[in-house]
Amino acid sequence: MILLEQVSKSYGGLKVLSGVSLSAEPGGRVLVTGRSGAGKTTLLRLLLGLEEPDAGTVHPFTAAAVFQEDRLFEEFDAVRNVRACVQETEEHIREALLSLLPEEALSKPVSGLSGGMRRRVSVVRACLAGGELLIMDEPFAGLDAETRENTLAFILARQNGRVLVISAHDTEGLSSFSEYRL
């Protein structure tokens, strides 16, 4: 699958991406790395169709995403947050959430959860949603080593043949990914 072809993108005269091409096999895993400000988030936003390239082609695919910020519906609990975006039964959603979160975290509004818990809710939401791409911008931000490991295992177990594109500073445990360095 060709995702990007010779894509360039600038913001206010500052070139962020220049001639970027990206492709992956169905079920493939891509790790986007680079220093801060290298354009990792911009690349992922282009893949999601949230930015228009200045030049080049972005091939449209349906996707699910973990954004740079959690972007949750603050007044609703974790189950409702996932259910808002996912066509799954409440039982299935609850089961998936419980594999990453303690039960007491499921019944209160996500605004009351810790940063790490919120991150995991956002990961579950993306993993349970449909689409051809699974795009994750720093999905392990704010997670300790053990939680990070569990979260990564959860993501890989629910990739379901989708192309998985992750941006991360810390590449530990991601050796099965093909790296794209910006």
Partner: protein, 277 residues
């Protein structure tokens, strides 16, 4: 409530002392005379029929104006062209004085449903502006979430728009509830429909029954407060807080405490829309 009672008692005392100092029941009556007049009036069937009639018409107008404001604001939000078409109409509705509404409706429809129409016309622009501002303040980052996850329209309304809209609706309704009774009763005083609070006020003025004027006014204040509470509870179970509000074109403010409430266009709520990274 406990903190309000001593303040209320203080002002009642000031009122009573002022009435005693004036010592002229045509110019000013105190709270005791007002309470006595209210008790006397409450013993008549005419009083209750007037209260019920005015309440039905004014609350009906409030609900109709609210429904029209929310509906047309939603249409404007969905279609810039519709907003362009509606904007002169809304601007006129904001600017036309209540007295002009009253006279025009008296000419067109008589006085039977006068306060219903006047109230709905006064309430409409408040709810229109507040609803439109609420919809526009929807978090742009969450709109991106809805787009990426291909959220259903019903889920967008429930999870995105409603939580954002409720504080704006509460601020608008709090203002509209107070304005509806002020304008509705004023219309009745001018239009003189039978069995109405405005008619009672007018007759009290003709007979220089100042105590009755105060008693009718107390009734309007109480009903207005009650309706505001009921509506706000219905909107959000009394949980969501109204956001800070901004001055409208005529310098009025639509705020949760209605401390600067006035007719005209109002804008409620901060712009909470955030830039995407």
């Amino acid at each position: 409530m406990k903190r309000v009672l001593p303040a209320a008692a203080f002002w009642l005392l000031v009122w009573q002392l002022a009435a005693m100092a004036v010592s002229n029941t045509i110019l000013l009556v105190g709270p005791l005379e007002t309470a006595a007049a209210l008790l006397r009036m409450a013993g008549t069937a005419e009083f209750w029929a007037s209260v019920a009639g005015s309440m039905l018409r004014i609350v009906g107008g409030l609900l109709a104006g609210t429904a029209a404001g929310i509906l047309l604001a939603s249409v404007s939000f969905a279609s810039p062209r519709a907003e362009l078409v509606l904007s002169p109409f809304v601007a006129v509705m904001k600017a036309v004085p209540v007295a002009s509404f009253v006279i025009l409706i008296l000419i067109w429809a008589g006085n039977g449903m006068l306060s219903f129409f006047v109230t709905s016309m006064v309430v409409f622009p408040v709810l229109y502006v507040n609803t439109l501002n609420g919809l526009r303040s929807t978090d742009k980052k969450l709109l991106e979430v809805a787009r990426v996850f291909r959220m259903r329209p019903s889920a967008r309304v429930r999870y995105l728009y409603l939580p954002q809209l409720v504080p704006f609706l509460k601020a608008g309704l709090a203002l509209a509830a107070g304005m509806s009774f002020k304008s509705g009763v004023a219309a009745e005083v001018i239009g003189q429909p039978l069995l109405s609070i405005g008619n009672g006020l007018y007759r009290a003025k003709i007979w220089l029954e100042t105590a009755d004027v105060f008693a009718w006014t107390a009734v309007v204040i109480f009903i207005s407060w009650l309706i505001e509470r009921l509506i706000l509870k219905a909107v959000a179970g009394g949980k969501a807080q109204a956001p800070g509000t901004h001055a409208g074109p005529d310098g009025t403010h639509a705020g949760p405490d209605r401390s600067h409430a006035g007719p005209g266009g109002t804008h409620a709520g901060p712009d909470s829309g955030k830039e995407a990274p």
